[in-house]
Symmetry: C2
């Protein structure tokens, strides 16, 4: 048995479809008998109004899509949790799209009228999806990652500043042979963190040689394998900046598997402050951004965009804060 | 601008709504001129058919809801990934519901006609949601967790056998002071793993004293804090079975923070074989279930249920396999 629609109720009650909607929303303009008949039919058919309490005429569905195709990266569940609770507080239900959709597939899922707006968590540079959605009149907010020169509402961490502060820390500790495993060049997060890091090192006269400054996936395996190759060099690095914590945890594990002590033998710095970075076995020095603030700002922007399609695009930057734990130290020759 | 509907296209083209659907599905029965006019109007209005290539009359939407309210437990992203790819292979798009919904809220999201079926990943004992959905004619499959005595399609790991084999291993190693941190008693997974573990220990004459056999959240914090209390006892356990890997990783970190060596000083066994359990710093002995097989069987059941509402309920059990890594060993006094 497929679910009943308002059309089925209208047919069964012998009224029009708008009358069904008005009856079930409790709006005036019909006899109590008609309203009762419609309510009885709706109950008998098991019809559930999509958005009780909201105006069907403005097509508000009370649902927001959250596109999150990288759920196995533990950063994303941490971002989705406050997005979910912000949407809940605003009376919206989140629907997660756990895959990267393009073109017609994306429009069928995201632009079919079932969503009041869309939050994108993993835009990549050159991504067409926000343009596609926006052209269909779907309110869109980019969170965590952004696009260049595009007039979208955007809420991101201060990735440049975070990378810059990591460089300052590494320089202050006395490291001169410094490596970086930066994440995908196609993401604004990796790019901006890398730019801040390069500038910070450069201001202190520290090189970042191309053979030990690599782009990679944002993955544990990338961190593990890339640092292993670097540690095999005749002149291995004494400090590694990682584009995110997941890469950094791969680096820490590779170091441990070689009998190195993270902090003493190799300084490892991450970015994101995911829960695992706080675990005793890692105690990862990393960059924290308040994801509660990011989610709050993103949903506020989306609600404004839903209410005012023509509002000028806004940009909100969440501060980046260096968190000093146990994975950094001076290079051995300075101790 | 809200998204256009087939009704808008029908009005603009001066035809009925079913004619719009037939035109855009390429069905015969109209002049080429009419079809072209409808196609042009649909393009001009930006109308996207919900389910091109599927029959609107059987209300197949091509979408399946996956209820996954525990995404910050890294097990769930690992289960969602193969569910997503199985659905994709079957021509369905997954929509994740990242919250625990009940009653009317659940029906508004899951039983509004937008989904062809629903996969529940985190049923708790006594849960009404599968009954509610089923009563509305929504095909439902329970995966990972199940309910007692309910006629639903179910796909679960052999949790009892897994718990039993862990008990055998711990007994074979010579442990006599054995603890367990079992996860929530309200879940079939924790309950069945615990039952198998208790039976296995009991067959070998090993007690499982109530003060060191506790239920808890399936969380890192629960593992960390509960094992810390146990290790403070005058007669601390020498082995701990954990209801899932996340608990076990909390136990490992608590042990490390006290200067204990996991495997040498304390045997720690998990359940699930999440990616982190393979990391060098943990090398966790645990129980593996093939989540690809679980997802494949679950989606196969769901597709059959969508096609045949009256098909008898099926149950599929995925084998549990003990994975021996580095977190187990004989108690110190036997070495």
């Amino acid at each position: 048995m497929a679910a009943a629609t308002s059309r089925d109720v209208a047919r069964a009650a012998g009224v029009s479809q708008p009358t069904v909607s008005r009856a079930l929303r409790g709006e005036p303009g019909m006899s109590p008998q008609t309203r009762q008949r419609i309510q009885d039919m709706a109950a008998a058919l098991g019809y559930v109004p999509i958005d009780r309490g909201r105006s069907l005429s403005t097509r508000r569905t009370g649902r927001v899509g959250v596109v999150a195709p990288e759920l196995t990266n533990p950063f994303y569940p941490q971002l989705i949790e406050p997005l979910r609770s912000e949407l809940d507080a605003a009376g919206y239900r989140p629907l997660l799209v756990p895959e990267r959709l393009e073109g017609d597939d994306a429009l069928r899922v995201l632009a079919d009228g079932s969503l009041d707006g869309v939050v994108l968590t993993t835009a990549v540079l050159g991504d067409q999806l926000p343009y596609l959605l926006s052209a269909r009149g779907i309110p869109v907010v980019l969170t965590n990652r952004e696009l260049d020169g595009a007039a979208f509402d955007v809420c991101v961490a201060d990735n440049y500043r975070g990378g810059y502060e990591v460089a300052q820390l590494i320089a202050d500790l006395g490291h001169r042979r410094v490596a970086a495993i930066l994440g995908p060049a196609s993401t604004s997060t990796a790019r901006d963190r890398a730019a801040g890091f390069r500038t910070g090192l450069s201001e202190r006269g520290i090189p970042l040689p191309a053979d030990i400054a690599t782009h990679s996936d944002f993955s544990y395996a990338a961190g593990f394998h890339q640092v292993s190759a670097m540690l095999d060099l005749t002149d291995p690095p004494t400090a590694v900046f990682c584009g995110n914590d997941v890469i950094a945890l791969g680096v820490c594990n590779a170091a441990v598997s070689r009998g190195l002590s993270v902090g003493d033998d190799l300084t490892v710095i991450g970015f994101d402050d995911i829960p695992m970075s706080r675990w005793d076995v890692f105690s990862l020095t990393t960059v924290h951004c308040d994801l509660g603030e990011m989610a709050h700002a993103a949903i506020e922007m989306l609600l404004r965009r839903i209410a005012h399609a023509e509002h000028p695009a806004q940009r909100h930057t969440v501060a980046a804060e260096l968190i000093l734990r146990g994975s950094h130290g001076a290079p051995r020759d300075l101790r």
